[in-house]
């Protein structure tokens, strides 16, 4: 697997793509109606969720089926602070983030010593346990009822302003993600992905690196959860179950996990497709399944892989 050069669709073009994309997203906010604004907001949040999956799977080589746990913990931490304790909004963001980070740190101790299929199963165990803890802790979390009526401050209540708020937060997170994977730390993560044993010999502290990556990915997922809660005005324990955790997996594969633009592109494609397909048929799962088959068998790099190959061909 190639490492660094996959960052760029075209070498050195990341900043141009970034600037164009950001400009486009700002303009889009002014052009679209409320329905499509909400879709765009969801796409942004989901791309953040997918980034958390991609950091673990695409860059560290650990297949996680448990990102939903941190999504839910972030969302619950935020919502409980906001609704139950009436803590001011910005502080709630910090509390949600801290909660998801802490939970990732604790569960990380259990997960990071495992590899391959065992890691995947352990993350399923973690996410289901989280689901049950939220589900059974009725007095605190509201159990099956979830928490309703999560309103952001008045100014963010309109879809358009919330969209811009999400855009700013997601952009910030994306920038951090970019810095992480292009740092020496990110390089050693990729080194672990390629060959963990050799990494150990070179002197990389494999376990500690994986644990750090795990916490970071938990923080990204938690941030996605925090943004999701006031967006849907509602959180439920189902955010933590394994079906919710499989969503970023699909989006990641759709976009391509080893490319920095993959999660964003995958999430946008996924959410738009969802909105488009559910408009005329209820058989969305069937379509997902078939798309997944096609991607795995015929276009292993996902959408970004396809675009990359096409660009290379048109250049040659």
């Amino acid at each position: 697997m190639p490492g660094l050069q996959l960052f760029d669709l075209v070498r050195g073009s990341n900043w141009r793509i970034f600037a164009c994309g950001w400009f486009l997203l700002i303009i889009l906010g002014l052009l679209l109606n409320d329905f499509w604004i909400n879709i765009a907001t969801e796409a942004l949040i989901m791309s953040l969720f997918t980034i958390s999956f991609s950091l673990l799977f695409g860059y560290t080589g650990l297949l996680s089926f448990g990102q939903g746990a941190f999504l839910a913990v972030g969302a619950y931490g935020f919502s409980l602070a906001l609704v139950r304790f009436n803590i001011p909004f910005p502080l709630c963001l910090a509390i949600g983030l801290a909660a998801s980070g802490l939970w990732a740190w604790i569960t990380g101790f259990i997960c990071v010593s495992l590899r391959g299929i065992y890691f995947a199963i352990m993350t399923v165990v973690v996410t289901q346990s989280t689901f049950y803890i939220i589900f059974q802790w009725y007095d605190f979390t509201g159990g099956d009822n979830g928490i309703q009526g999560i309103f952001p401050p008045k100014i963010l209540c309109t879809p358009l302003y919330y969209y811009y708020f999400t855009l700013v937060v997601v952009t910030g997170a994306f920038f951090i993600f970019y810095r992480i994977i292009s740092s020496p730390f990110g390089l050693s993560l990729m080194c672990i992905r390629e060959n963990a044993t050799r990494c150990l010999f070179v002197g990389v502290k494999v376990r500690r690196h994986i644990h750090k990556a795990f916490v970071m990915s938990g923080l990204f997922a938690g941030l996605a959860g925090i943004l999701l809660a006031p967006f849907t005005r509602f959180v439920a324990p189902q955010m933590a179950d394994w079906l919710s955790s499989s969503n970023p997996l699909f989006m990641g594969i759709l976009g391509g996990v080893t490319n920095i633009w993959g999660p964003v592109l995958g999430a946008i494609a996924w959410v738009c497709l969802d909105a488009f397909v559910t408009g005329f048929t209820e058989h969305w799962p069937l379509i997902i399944g078939v798309i997944l088959f096609v991607i795995i068998f015929f276009m292993p790099g996902g959408l970004t892989g396809l675009i990359g190959a096409w660009l290379k061909k048109s250049k040659a």
Binding site: Q136, G289, I296, F297
Partner: protein, 296 residues
């Protein structure tokens, strides 16, 4: 005395649960051990088997033996179905990396679940019980529903049958060799992909029996496989992937844990199995009876 009665009943219900776990998990675990593919769609096949059983028993509802005939027919149909999937999809999965295998079988989950919704609708269905299973068995003042007794007996019978198959027959020896010495038996000229195909069909046969048995215990519905999926993974991890004895042991262990936990700490009962699996993964990742240091 009353308390002892209660505990006795719970022990029996633990056995029932354990038998069901074993029926569902044994195929999955053996498939992983022999072929190295973790089939996420196993549980969708479980649900489809229940639906197929319902269809046949509905077709034959005028006859007394409808359920038994339906079970056998559905097992045959499922084996045929398994053969087709094996040729179309699973065949291409063997040599791929682990994440790809998971993604492909995961895609199958979505396709299968939606197809069952198209064929059978989303309403829950009930299979008519044969007369003998509608009664209950009286033993020393206890009364056990026959369906539960049936599932336990079935679990034990299938377990013994599998053991005989693996330990005493030629194909069993090949399957065990494929589990432990893959290169060697390939070198000896055993067509390994055919062994894989047989193992896949065997696993579907097992899960189809489980699906038919389930129709006697509860309703057939969408998402039926999801409720047992995670627990079944835990059972597999605890027992050791690919180990028949380990799976049997951990099925009973998990069933008992659940049933007794319901009695004493009801709120903690469902996650207790997860915690158990978590602990096992930490101290013995290869499970109770699994092979130490397996590369998967």
């Amino acid at each position: 005395m009353d308390f002892l009665n209660l505990v006795g009943n719970q022990v029996f219900s633990g056995l029932v649960r354990g038998a069901l776990y074993f029926l569902v998990t044994s195929g999955l675990s053996l498939l992983f051990g022999v072929v190295g593919v973790l089939n996420m769609a196993h549980f969708s096949l479980y649900m489809i088997a229940s639906y197929v059983t319902w269809s046949f028993s509905n077709l034959l509802q005028d006859y007394a033996f409808s359920f038994w005939a339906a079970s056998i027919l559905s097992a045959l149909v499922m084996c045929g179905f398994a053969w087709i999937i094996e040729r179309l999809i699973i065949k291409h999965v063997y040599e791929r990396a682990l994440p790809d295998q998971l993604f492909i079988t995961f895609a199958m989950v979505y396709v299968f679940e939606d197809l069952t919704k198209i064929f059978w609708g989303s309403l829950p269905l009930v299979v008519k019980k044969p007369d003998i299973l509608a009664k209950s068995l009286d033993l020393g003042g206890h009364s056990f529903p026959m369906t539960n007794v049936f599932v336990v007996v079935l679990g034990i019978a299938i377990g013994l049958g599998l053991w005989v198959l693996l330990a005493k027959t030629r194909i069993g020896r090949i399957l065990r060799a494929a589990y432990s010495h893959k290169e060697m038996i390939t070198a000896l000229g055993v067509p390994i992909h055919r062994v894989y195909a047989i193992m896949f069909i065997l696993s579907v046969l097992l899960v189809s029996i489980a699906g038919s048995a389930w129709t006697m215990m509860g309703i057939v519905e969408q998402g039926q496989g999801h409720s047992i999926l995670i627990e079944s993974f835990c059972v597999m991890v605890i027992g050791g992937m690919g180990s028949l004895v380990g799976t049997a042991l951990s099925s009973v262990l998990c069933g008992m844990t659940y049933a007794l936990a319901i009695l004493f700490i009801p709120k903690m009962a469902p996650p207790l199995i997860f915690f158990l699996a978590g602990v096992i993964l930490l101290i013995r990742p290869w499970g109770l009876m699994g092979k130490v240091g397996r590369p998967h």
